[in-house]
Every structure is written in C-alpha cells, then in structure tokens.
C-alpha cells in the first residue's frame, strides 16, 4: 500500500516539475486553487490608474480587492499651504470630468466660511454650468459603460459628439475645456461671452432628437439587456448604509438628490424631476443617467429663459481672512454627493481642506456587487459605478 511518505516523496518529485511548469491549473469549480488576476493599473477598462485584484474560480469572481493610490497627489496637504483663492485650481484636478461641480462645491464652502452673498446672476450662471457639466459627464459615463459591455466605441463616439459641444461652450467662457477653474469665491470669474447663449440655444434645440437617437440605438438592444440587466445588483438598504450617492443610489430606488433635498444656488426656483430606478442593477444606473441628462436639459432651458443680469461677482477682498470656524458644503455632482469640509483658524489658508469623494465611497460596495458574477460582469459593474481615479486618490 502506498505509505504516506511515499506519496509525499512523489509529490516532492512532482513539485519540482511544477516549478518549471508555467501556469497553475485553471480551476473548474472543483475546489482546486483559484486564480488571482490583476485588473492592473494598466488596463483598458479601469477608467484610469486603478487596480482591482480579482480572485477567480474559473470565470466566477470570488473576491475583488481594490488597490488604489496610484494618482494620490495629497491635495489635502497642499491646500493647507495656499490661500482660499489659490486652492480653486486644485478642485478642477480632483474630479477632472466634472470640474465645474468641484469648483462650485468648494466655492460654496468658502462662501459659507467667509459669509459672502452671491449675486443672483452668478447663481444662475453657476447652475447653468453645473448642469452642462452633468450632461457632458453623463455622456462620458454612459459611453464608457457601453464600451465596457463590448460595443466597439460606436455609442461612445456618438455621445462624445455632444460632449464636444459642451466643452466648446466651456472653452468659450473660461478658456479651458476640462480644468475650467471658472468659479471664484462670491461668483464666477468672467461674465458670459455674447456668443455663448446662441450656442446654448442651438445645443438645447438639437439635444432632444439626439437623445431620441440614443434611446433607439441603446435602450432596446437585446445584448445590452443581457449584459447589464441583473448584473451588479445592490439593495436600497445596503446602498444607504454604505453611503452610496448619486445615480448609483437612485438606481436602487432611493429618491435622494441634493439639488432637491438641500437646494443651493437657487435650484429651488427651477422645476425639474429626479429619476429613480427599481432593481439597482447596471442597466438601471444607465437608464437613470440617461433620464438625468433630459432633466438637466429642462433646467438649462429654464436658466436660459430666466437669466437675470447684474454683477457676476460679489466684491470679496482678494485676500479675505475668514473667521476661525468650519463649513461643510455639499453639491450633487454627476458622480454623487461631493462635499467640501473646510476648517479655518483665521489664517490666509484653510487649516483643514477635506473633499468627500463620491467615486471612492461608491466603491465601498463594489465587492458586494461583483462577487458571484463573472469577470466580465465585474468590469461592467465597475463601468456602471462611473469612477474617476483623480477623485478616488485626490
């Protein structure tokens, strides 16, 4: 009978063979050891330098662990060395796909600290650009989401066509397409150029039939349904408990939107609605984003119609020193609840500058969403959460 050490001898002899072998046995669910695959920092569908260590049993994901920090520029430390106005360009670089919302959130926090009253025209302009930024960011989010499902960039390029028009408008007003640095404490940096409103009018005129195109092209697509329905599902209770926010939270059915709950910049004057999903899966997030773009267009329509005139910037001394105290202002950015927590000690620079990153916090539930699905589902789920690595790592 083969004694225990006999088999051990055979195993040692085999293990040296294993050394010069190439890849450990791929499992087929019969219990042999799982494969750990690195969806590494350099991967076409991780939306930036973001690493997901996925432990796979065959194609089924057993564990998904995030390794981040590749884009960590320690902005919160740098901001403590610069005055309140000098920090504004930092906020563009935190979430470079929604720079306007970041500027807005930071300026609201700074204004709360300094007790500055923003003139109505500036508030309307801020709402206009925040909503334009939402349209552009959702175009990017939906485009890359479908790209992760495998469509060869075609929907992405359709949506980039609209995003281009929005970025041209940004360039028209503040000179930059992505890192706009347009808002100042107490208002906005420049007044609207004359050619902006006509372009915005033509943009609003074209968009409805463009959106109809997307709905025709994508909503009824059987393969997109098969790939995205029932994938990356999360329950409303777990979503609220893991502090998810934005389209990811609304897709689960929780109707929470800061623009309605805690209106800033005069959002209460505009009449719009908050779309809410039902199952909380990837396809619902996609639908919620598509509906939100339509709502943003409604708001833009009303902003253009009721744009007040008057000063676009309150007269805030360039070197204002706020009273010691703290402020926490929150904005509904395209990715979720973006907050800025500023602590002032009376000095020219903020004593503590903290940004609540919706992308990072939305990732807390990534493990619950992707475990159990296949590797392809994990990629689609990651795409549907719509993360921006600049905001995760700050």
């Amino acid at each position: 009978m083969t004694t225990a050490d006999d088999t051990r001898l055979a195993m040692q002899e085999d293990s040296h063979l294993a050394m010069q072998g190439t890849i450990e046995a791929l499992t087929t669910g019969d219990g042999s050891e799982p494969v750990v695959v690195n969806l590494g920092p350099q991967h076409p569908s991780t939306h930036g330098v973001f690493r997901l260590k996925v432990t796979l049993d065959g194609e089924i994901v057993q564990d998904a662990e995030m390794r981040i920090g590749y884009l960590h520029r320690s902005m919160e430390k740098l901001a403590e060395e610069r005055t309140y106005t000098q920090n504004i360009p930092f906020t563009d670089r935190i979430d470079y796909l929604a720079a306007m919302s970041n500027n807005l959130a930071y300026c609201l926090a700074a204004e709360e600290l300094l007790g500055v009253e923003v003139p109505p025209r500036a508030q309307a302009i801020r709402v206009m650009f925040a909503e334009l930024q939402r349209v552009a960011s959702h175009a990017m989010a939906n485009g890359t989401f479908i790209n992760d499902c495998g469509a060869w960039h075609t929907p992405l390029f359709y949506m980039f066509r609209d995003r281009e028009r929005v970025l041209d408008m940004f360039e028209m007003t503040c000179g930059a397409r992505l890192t706009t640095n347009y808002m100042r404490i107490g208002g906005v940096a420049f007044d609207l150029p004359d050619e902006l409103l006509p372009t915005l009018e033509s943009f609003l005129a074209d968009m409805p039939e463009r959106i109809a195109d997307y709905e025709a092209l994508l909503m009824e697509n059987e393969i997109l349904h098969a790939r995205a329905r029932g994938v990356g599902v999360i329950s409303p209770e777990l979503a609220v408990n893991s502090s998810l926010s934005g389209p990811v939270l609304r897709a689960t059915g929780v109707p929470w939107d800061l623009r309605k709950a805690n209106p800033y910049c005069g959002y209460e004057d505009y009449e719009f609605d908050v779309p809410v999903g039902e199952q909380g899966d990837c396809f619902d997030r996609f639908l919620v984003r598509m509906a939100e773009v339509k709502e943003s267009l409604k708001i833009l329509r009303q902003v253009v119609d009721t744009l007040p005139d008057g000063p676009y910037l309150a007269d805030v001394p360039l070197h204002a020193r706020p009273e010691p105290g703290e402020a926490y202002a929150r904005v509904e950015s395209p990715r979720g609840e973006l907050g800025f927590y500023l602590v002032s000690d009376g000095g020219p620079a903020p004593y503590r500058f903290h940004c609540r990153p919706p992308s990072l916090i939305n990732l807390t539930a990534l493990k619950e969403m992707s475990v159990g699905g296949t590797l392809a589902d994990a990629i689609v789920t990651l795409g549907s959460i719509d993360i921006v690595v600049g905001e995760i790592d700050r």
Binding site: T2, T7, A10, D30
Partner: protein, 104 residues
C-alpha cells in the same frame, strides 16, 4: 521503385509499435491514451492501404470499417479522459503507476 502495399504495411506496423510502447511505458493516463490513439491510427492506415491496393469488393468495406474505428476511438477518448478526471479528483494523481488501489 513503386510505392506498394508493403510500404504502407511496414509504416503502419512501425507506427503501431511506437504507439504500443508509449501506451505501455508512459506514467501519465493521458500519455497512455495518446499511445492508444497512435495504435488506432496505425490500424486505420493499414486498412486504408488494403482498400487502395486490395481487391474491388474489399475496397469499400475497409473504408467503412475505418469510419467506424474513428467513431469508436473518439468515444473511447472521451470516456477515458472522463475516467482520468474522476481518478484525479479522488486521488489527486493521474499517474498510472500510483493508482494501484486494486492491487490489494
């Protein structure tokens, strides 16, 4: 010099013996199956040689016989590999000389 029946028969015999040796001497179950496949191939080769050089009525029946051998060989490999898999699953080894449970 003409390539005749004997050439193919010698070739078939050689292939059969190589397959036979592999089947006997390999430690791994899949290795044994490879040996068996080679032996079957050798047999097919000789049969087709007969069908080409043999008399008229034997020509067709040998080719049909070869088709049957290929079918059975495919079935045999499928079952053989499934057996190897089950042996591996229970004994963690598919090397032929260590699965000696029945030796007693």
């Amino acid at each position: 010099m003409i390539i005749g029946l004997e050439h193919y028969l010698v070739l078939g015999a050689l292939l059969f013996c190589i397959g036979f040796f592999i089947a006997l001497s390999k430690k791994n179950a899949v290795g044994v199956l490879i040996g068996v496949e080679l032996m079957l191939n050798a047999v097919n080769l000789t049969l087709v040689a007969f069908s080409r050089f043999g008399t008229a009525e034997v020509a067709l029946s040998t080719q049909v016989f070869v088709v049957f051998i290929i079918a059975v060989a495919a079935a045999e490999v499928a079952v053989g590999l499934a057996l190897a898999l089950v042996v591996y699953r229970n004994r963690q080894t598919i090397s032929v000389d260590r699965t000696t449970l029945l030796k007693g």
